[in-house]
Symmetry: C2
Subunit: 312 residues, 2 copies
Amino acid sequence: MDLRQMRYFLALAEERNFTRAAARLHIAQPPLTRQIRALEQALGSVLFLRTPKGVELTEAGHALLDEVPNLLALAQRARDRAQLAGQGRTGRLDVGIFGSGIFDVIPRLLARFHAERPDVRIVLHNHTKAEQIEALRERRIAIGFNRLVPAENDLVVETVLREKLVVALPENHRLARRRKLALADLDDEPMILYPKQPMAGLAQRVIQAFTLDDVRLRIEQEVEDVLTGIALVVGGFGFCITTESSTNLRLPGVAYRPLDCEHLRDIELACLYRKGDTSPVLAAFLEIVRGSPKRRARKISGTRHLIRESRQ
Amino acid sequence: MDLRQMRYFLALAEERNFTRAAARLHIAQPPLTRQIRALEQALGSVLFLRTPKGVELTEAGHALLDEVPNLLALAQRARDRAQLAGQGRTGRLDVGIFGSGIFDVIPRLLARFHAERPDVRIVLHNHTKAEQIEALRERRIAIGFNRLVPAENDLVVETVLREKLVVALPENHRLARRRKLALADLDDEPMILYPKQPMAGLAQRVIQAFTLDDVRLRIEQEVEDVLTGIALVVGGFGFCITTESSTNLRLPGVAYRPLDCEHLRDIELACLYRKGDTSPVLAAFLEIVRGSPKRRARKISGTRHLIRESRQ
DNA sequence: AACGAACGATACCTCGACGGTATGGGAGGC
DNA sequence: GCCTCCCATACCGTCGAGGTATCGTTCGTT
């Protein structure tokens, strides 16, 4: 019993005439006769009564006819789903994100991917750098975004873009009148440092630059995420060095000024995924990621559809 | 894409190893490799990643694996149902019955059939003789029971049994003291005649016999069914000639005595069905019907399971 | 009553596909 | 470095699918 016989059976059951059913199936009448007979023998039941005017269904035929359309529909669905999944048009993409990365480029990438592959479910996971690497190895996520990612031999790290750094400071701060700032301008100014704890990539770089340029560092507060940092800036606690994409975080009373510094020129945003991952969904997403830099000037928009899960 | 490939796919997806899956399928490994590749080409999606240690499922493979067990189960169910229906082990039997036929042999036949074929739904339809014939032609019933059925050229009439006739009369009637009665004993006695209207088979025969034997007929009441007739006997309106199987209708105050009459010896109970009806359910039921006479001495029992519908 | 049309069954043929055996090639493990 | 395991490839025989031609039966028509 195979699917071809099921299709033949259905055609004959509907046409109630071998000749017409064969025509509909684009085969000659004798092969149809033979296939139906083979099916009847396989089942051990007569399915059709042959009459001079055509055929009619027996009870066994009716019983089978009750099932066959479901069967064929299910087969079609199985085929469709496998095809769609194979093209990466359906399925799911688990993405690891981190605190300050969620303001500009990542939501835009996800929005574009969603527009292209509306049937792929995007699931976001907030992870620190170390957690992302672990989650990738355990296949809980397919791709992660982070900054200053160390090389790992089972993971691929691709730089998505390099972001300039900016200084966030109170609008009424005396330095806010300047169009751009050098590191020396920040000498001994109260500073809000972040991230404090989770894989201190940016903070480390900032401290390093201050040391290299021999500028005095006065850490007023240490915080764990940008949002808190900027909130403290609004509160007048000091300035904060952050990435350009954070300027999307427009809070009243805060001003952003470009930072011009040789040792702290820009900071990379990278994505990382498993070496040898053949997932078509991932491949499609990486295409979006790689094609992105050209159009990165736009602002956040249309990200409402995103599913956000702290952890799956 | 056919069911064989689905079975192969499932085996490989479960074993995650071509060699073992092939062994499980009782084929060599190369044909399995070829079938899987053919399936992948048909779908246009890679289903398995070949690794040195075996294979693992791709996303397309997982998507297909979600569907395949359902598909195979449905195919199996379709096959089973068609087979069962073909053997007459499932399905439905619509039976036409009539008033006085429901007391003895028909319920026994139905009970025996139900015991043998518990998955066949038996549906009873109360019909007069003419209605039964019409219902048979319109395929609303597969078999009918009746008495004194005229020959029809598209229907088969088979005598199920010949029933002796009895006289039902009040217990305290003077004739009730006799062990058996002749027609002459009923001369000018008040009589309850049935059936009055629906195809007066028995009534006609009774009148005919009285005429032939030159016995005076005094029709006190004409009724349409046995039950009413016997009820009137209980009420003392007169006697009633009915079939032996009616004696199962034990009402207080009524006595049944065999009728000994040359011209009214017995009356046949026949079943009728469509000529050329190949229904396996019907065939199975007819076997029961034909095998019945040998054991017809038993009383009614176990008929509670019957579905009774006045009309479907 | 004989003929023709319609329909399914049968006979026979060709070719493609399935399964089998033998063998190749690549990755890990002792 | 060799052995083992696993999948892929090459080649062969057989079975089965579909095609054409034709037959037998049953209607309806002439």
